[in-house]
Structure formats: C-alpha cells, structure tokens
C-alpha cells in the first residue's frame, strides 16, 4: 500500500490541518486521526482534531484523546470553523459523515480537502482522495503515510494505530486479517504498543451493569433455522442502569454457535419501533436484508429501523433472511 505523492506533498507543503473523524467514532477513526496528528506535529505541522461526538469513554486510553474538539467547543480554542482551510477526513469520505448538523456543514469554508478511507464511496468529495476499500483498516493506511513521510513511529503513534487495526480486524479474527496486518501489528509492537494492555482496554473494561445487561440479552436468545435473535427492551436498560451504547457488539456473540449464519439484535427504541442490527457469518448478504426495509450496511454487518409489534418484526426479518 503506497500513499499517493499528491497526499504526501499536501502534508509536506501545508502547515495547518483540520483532522476530522466520522460520527459515532470507533477505534479506527480515532486511533488513525490521533496517530496522523502526532506524526504531522513531528514534522513541524499544526493539527486540530475534530469530532462530532465526544470520544466514547472506552477509547479514553488512546494517547492524546483529550485533544479532540467537538463542534460546540471549537470556539474555546480561539478558532472558528471557517478559519480552517485544509481538512483531512479520516475513515470516512464525505463531510456529511463528519456531521449531520446542517448548520455546521454550512460553516466549512475549505480550500483543500483530503480523504483517507477504506469505505466504499458514494460521493466524489475531496481534492485528494486515497480510498482503498480492500484495506483492513484506515489505521493500516496511516501507518504507511507515517512511514512515507519519514517520521519515526513513537510509542503513542504505535498504540493508536495498533488499537485502530485491532478494532477493525476483531483483534485479528475477521476475514480481513491478512499477513500484512500481522506484520504491521508486529512492527507497532516493536515501536511500543503493548497488545495485552490494549486488548484489556478494548475487551476487558466493561462495567458490571453492562455485563448484567449482556446476560439479560442472552436470556432472550431464540434460534430458528440458523438465525439467532436477541432483544433489548427499554425496561432491560432501565433495570441495569445502562444506555444503548452498552449494547455495542452484543449482536456478535451468538455467532459463537457453529450453526448460526445470521445474528439479529432488536433494540426497542419506542413502542412498536425497533433498531435492528444484523451480522452474518458466511454467504448471506445482510445489507440486502436491511435494504428490503430501507436500511443499509455491508454484506456481513447491516442495520435498519423497523416499526411494528415485536413478533411481526421478527417474522418479517426471518422471512427476508430466508429468502436470501
């Protein structure tokens, strides 16, 4: 993976970069942004880290996370959004993935924009575009940018990139875990990332409340024809004093069962209204399942919101999955 010369020259020739993550930030967008920011600082550049949402508490171990600004607190820094002329979008490829607040979007006043991402594109945003849909993580691309800029990897950069890559490869379990991923993870460990410490932060830092919600969720498990269905109600959240954030990744667990091809999690948003998460193991395309109800996503991970009483919603989903 070789970053384009145009991108490297942009970093070499300009002085001040607004680095922006996608909404509902995950480990890849956060760790990648932080590592790039640290590397650009090393070659004398200034960076400003922008995040629509607060950094989720589970990512507060990423070195430098406190340097992120939300739109609301840009002004505390003495700047206005319209002061920033150069932007780099990380792990997303359009401004409407950075924020869906139209009042902010109208304040961008950019001269040059660059995009570094591994998602499929829908719009042609960006003067400089480096988009590799086959890259396992944006963190891997940032690793090569840092190398190409001739910056020595610091321990803090290595931790951020290791976390980014670990999150997007399921800690080296997903199908995108190539030998390149493992070679780079090894190099990051040589540079100071500690796999055990990072994985403890990522996977062994649940609150007891979250674990209690997890048990309650597993207790709702129904299995039908290779489809696992679990449900989280508002009552369950209230009983365990948890929030929807705590449900993150629960949908993956029933995949532990060999014969499960699709795992579905329904979260009750309101009376007769459900947020549906879908995960598939093999050949079933859950993006198409979600699309049938107006949702979207990737082949193996998709989502949609559906209205209806729970038994009807389940029956519709099962029927649609079986037709795939």
């Amino acid at each position: 993976m070789v970053p384009p010369a145009e991108l490297l020259n942009f970093f070499r020739n300009e002085d001040y970069f607004l680095i922006a993550t996608h909404m509902s930030p995950d480990g890849d967008t956060l760790g990648s942004s932080l590592a790039l920011s640290l590397a650009l600082q090393k070659i004398g550049k200034k960076t400003f880290l922008l995040n629509n949402d607060m950094v989720p508490k589970e990512y507060a171990f990423l070195p430098g996370y406190e340097r992120f600004h939300t739109f609301e607190n840009i002004q505390d820094s003495g700047y206005r959004l319209q002061d920033f002329k150069r932007i780099v979008l990380i792990d997303c490829n359009d401004l409407d993935r950075v924020t869906d607040d139209k009042s902010w979007l109208s304040n961008f006043n950019l001269q040059t924009s660059a995009v570094i991402d591994h998602h499929e594109t829908e719009k042609p945003f960006g003067d400089i575009r480096w988009i590799i849909p086959d890259s396992p993580a944006t963190g891997l691309m940032i690793f090569y940018v840092i190398k190409a800029l001739g910056v020595d990897l610091s321990e803090d950069m290595a931790i951020n990139l290791y976390a980014a890559i670990a999150v997007d490869t399921g800690n080296f379990r997903y199908g995108n875990t190539t030998s390149e991923v493992l070679h780079v993870a090894a190099d990051l460990t040589d540079a100071g990332a500690r796999p055990h410490i990072i994985s403890t932060e990522l996977y062994e830092s649940w609150t007891e409340s979250r674990f209690r919600l997890f048990i309650k969720t597993l207790n709702t498990l129904q299995i039908e024809d290779g489809i696992a269905i679990t449900t989280v109600t508002r009552k369950m959240l209230a009983e365990t004093s948890t929030s929807p954030d705590d449900i993150e990744n629960f949908v993956s667990y029933p995949r532990t069962i060999k014969d499960i091809n699709v795992s579905v999690l329904l979260r009750e948003i309101d009376d007769n209204y459900y947020k549906v998460s879908l995960r598939s193991k093999d050949s079933i395309n859950v993006a198409r399942v979600a699309a049938a109800f107006g949702g979207g996503g990737h082949k193996s991970a998709a989502g949609v919101r559906i209205k209806g009483d729970i038994e009807t919603v389940k029956a519709k989903l099962i029927k649609q999955i079986k037709s795939e």
Copy 2:
C-alpha cells in the same frame, strides 16, 4: 530463540521418533506435535504421534489430527510401545504428563528422550532438554526448530503452528503476546495459515447446547469485592445435554468486567464436592489460593478440588483470595 545443536543433531541423526503430547491435549501440544511430525517427514524421517486421550473434536480441523494414536490403539499400527526407542515430549517435560496410567509408563523402553516445552520443570527427565518457560507457546519453539532444520514451512505446518500460538496467547490478547509472536504469526500467514478460518474453528464452533449452558452459567454470576463466582451443577449439564468439556474457558468471561480481579468457577462433581477453576487479571496469585486447598497451577490460572457444601466452599475461597 535458538534451538540447541544437540536437539537438531538428534533429529538429523535418528530415523524414527515417537512424538508425545500431554494428557488433556490443547491446541499448543497438538499443533506443535503435528507441525514437528510434518517437518521431520519432509527430511525423510518417520514419526509416530502418541496421545493419551482422543483429539478433542474442536481440534479436528488441525491438518493430520487423524494420525494420532492413543495407547490403546498402538497395536493396530503393528507396533508395541516398547518398540519405540526415541521419544520427543511436546509441551510437557515428564512421562507422567504423557499418561498417568502406570501400566503404560512401565512399557516405555527408551534409548533417547528429548523434551521441547515452555512449562516450568519439576523433574529432570530427558536426555536432551529444550525448555524455555518464557516462551509464549511451544508452537513458537517448533517454528524455530523447523527453520533451523532448513525445512520450508508447508501450509499444513503453518496452520498447526498458528493454532498452537493462537491458543496459548488467547488469540494475541494475553500478556505473552510479544512482537516476536506477531512476527511469527505473520510469517505463518505468509506460509498459508488463514487467521479468520483458524479463529472461526477455535472460537465460533460451539454447539447450541454449549451456548445454552454458557447462558445458564452466566445467570449464576455473583460478584463480591472484585471476585466473580459462577457455578455449574450436574443438573445444568443434564438440562443442556452437555459434558464437563463444554465448560472449558467459561471461567474467563467474567474478566470482561473491568473491576473483576479474580474469576472463580465451581463445577459440581458430586454431592458437596466441587472442581474449582481460578483466573486472575492482575497481581493476585491464584496458584497460592489453590495451593492453600491442596491444588496448584500458574499465577493467573489455577485449580483445585474442594469438599463441602457450596456456600461454605465459596466463603472459604473468598476469604483465601482476600488474604492474597
């Protein structure tokens, strides 16, 4: 890690090797033995793979697993145990870890024995001993043996070694996940190991019954002062049509909770008789906890059998853990 010349010469100079795993074989002893056997065959040697127990079904994906013989079926191969003159113990370092059946032990009639292991030794067994307690897995040591013998890694060797290393490092999550581990895992992937396929076999191949037992076990969770206690009764096994093998690794799950320092799982063996598994995260030495009741193990993973009614057993364990 450099294998001793004496060990390499043993492999080069002799022709027929009995390769033995430890009892209750895990991925490291099985994968390491199979990879060594395949490599020795490549340089024209004969090997005979010996296993006290049957290969557990979850390891039936390891290439060559069907070549293992148990003591009972040695004679089907046309040999007797006393015919084997050269033995290599893999992932253990004494014959009494190969079998605890004294009638078999008395049949060994060895001229030369070698030991390749990463466990602490208790007895000085073995004419040739390569024991590295700091090695994350025996699989890593076998990787270096194969390299030193000048054998090209085949895909089958790579799969066996990758599985061995994955199992003993918690799929690159435990504290023993060094950069060397990741470099070797990357090399094994270059040689044909597929991380996603191996981790699916290791972690996403549970039966539905096992998952139902898992949920029942989590429902017994009690937490007191950073100690998580879960229980599996004979009734729970009967209700889910599962066996004690299915409980493997359940004790690790409550460690997902940040504030849990020790996780304890009690399995009812008989009336008022429990097999206790202990896992710790940080500074607490559970080997000492187990030793206080006559058991043993490592600092972060230990076990013991205790008699008594369940509430008394729990109370004794909690008291002992708190005194650590």
